[in-house]
Amino acid sequence: MRGATRRCRATGAAVALALLGGALPGQAGVPADAREFLERQRDLAGAGPSWEANLARFNLAYPCGAMAEAREALDALSRLAPADPTARYYRLELNSHDAGLLEQSRAGAARFLAAQAAVESDPETEVLRRWLVAQVERLDHGLSIEQLRRSEVAASSIRARWLPLGAAGVLALAAWAAARWRPRAAAPGAS
């Protein structure tokens, strides 16, 4: 319980920053450039296996596209607190980049939103909860658009697969009709 409160404070304190800057909870500002990113990465390497350290690792790596590092940090967060909503939201966020996990991500988002709707949070965690719900709703909206796009692509793929056969059929039909045509005799004087 004490761990949960500490986690909540760690993320909750950062939510204020996140709400102000639109950043992720736990994020000490996005690094200005690669050098700053790498310096902070080096500092974090020896930070230990705590929730806070891994939260910071994730929030440094993910916005900079270091997906393997972000996934490693997230796995550590999930091990430390498997049911923690922040870690679950991050998992959804990370998986949303994987085209093969679209269905899974949408289902996960639906489960997340259903679970959060049933949560009775105290004032201390309410800000974080609301922020997470808003993020997952945004994510789910994006995923639904992507799912629609994919279904259009799939329909187009099916059309394209059968199209040559259909075209060949149309041509065969035209050829059959043309083969029945007999040219008329030449008009007198025509060369």
Binding site: V30, P31, A32, D33, A34, R35, E36, F37, L38, Q41, R42, A61, P63, C64, G65, A66, M67, A68, E69, R71, E72, H97, A99, R149, E152, V153, A155, S156, S157, R159, A160, R161, W162, L163, P164, G166, A167, A168, V170, L171, A174, A175, A179, R182, P183, R184, A185, A186, A187, A190, S191
Partner: protein
Amino acid sequence: MSALLAAALAGFAALSLEILGVRWLAPWFGATSLVWSNQIGVVLLALAAGAAWGGRLARRSPAPWRIAARLLAAAGLLLGLGILLLPRFCTWLLPPALHLDEAAGIALGGSLGAALLFFAPPVLLLAMVAPLLVEIRAAARGAGRAAGEISAAGTLGSLLGVFASTYLAVPLLGTRLTLALLAAALVAAGAILAARPRHSSLALLPLLPLLGDDPARLANLPRLDGHESIVLAVRESPLQRLRVVELRASGAAAGGERWLQMNEGLDSYQSRWLPGSAWPGGYYDLFALAPLYAGLELGDGACEFWSLGHAAGSALGPVAAVLGERPWQAVGVELDAAALELGQRWLPLAPGLAERTELRVGDARLLLRGAPPDLDFVLLDAYAAQFEIPAHLATVEFFQEVAGHLRPGGVLAVNLGTSSRAGTRGGPVGAIVAGLREAFGDHVRLHEVPFSRNVVVFARHQAPLPGLDELWAAMPAGVPRFVGGACLSGQVFEGEALPAGLPYCDDRNPVAIEQAREWLGAGR
């Protein structure tokens, strides 16, 4: 004589359609080897069927000359109808916001279907003409001589059709106008040969689609949330169709990033330009690591490098930013002069960069042979038909040639587009990496580009690549943070972790088929 001219016209039109067909399909389906194979296959099939059918018709036709004239005119009218309908057909088939890595399968079936529906019928009619003309001529000259003369005239017409359409008509007039004029010419010729000059007015019909805007201009425009895509320029070169697109924030009057796109466009670009920034983003930014790997952050001597597949020179900004005050000279090699021209006009380099870059037009491998033997690094970003890696730029022998032009410690940086992340583990990427290892030894390292399906591979000549710690320490200020993200161990592969494969050689090079297989697989 009229028969020979008619045979030449039919041959000219048939082979022009083979070339123009691919160019006309390219804005929607691309001009990959798959599309070419479809078009050539369909045209050959139509030629064979038309010749056989024409032969049968010649035997039983009481007026072969009139039939031949009508066939020419009908081919022209069908072609005109195709010009009108093809864009609608493509719009129906292709979904909006299609990604390049999803498009290969759709392009394969779509281009085959389009070739069958829109190009096979007119080519078939044109191929029917020759046997009829032989029949006419055989009465006076004998079958053998007549067949030989008609065949020769048709082949010469075909020859003219191939070269005139590629080198003259398409660059000067554009594909659509060329097709429409060809269709009109066929209709007019048919009317004249049939001794019905009044019917020549029908030749105006194929020109009617020209009254509207060119639908190919807006084909497969990139779609970005909150942005609209504005086409700034379109050019048809002898090699490909090029387009400059500006992604303008919705409601903004001007400004925004610009992409130089080839053929089918979609969500990909051959060059990218951000107003007021040296860093175009994506894999271009990772080219900034080339001077760092070559140890150029130390010292202040002049630096010289070549950029192969230069296009608008998007790779120069990141490299120049890392080189800072250090003097440098570059040679940019590009196969398509039109890409250079569009780049200079619409994606201009930052002040100071263009002056230090000599542009050369030609094949990268051929021109590199004239490079000095002590280059500091070489950037390789050469693609044909959007995503096809040119076979001769993917072999061990080519990489050995590059190594021969690098000073000890010099670096080759290669951008490789893959169909997906899975592509980084084998297939063409594995074979190319294996080729690099054969030419450069174990001094090869692959970086995955964040949020992208590309990888950038670095190979160092006669020296080990600096460790990641050294790379981190050498990183100058101002490099985008994504480049840092690409330098973490999870994004970097070397040694046994590199994708493996059988290297391509000049003599044994299945890159085209392996790449086609990979991209077709990705679309499923």
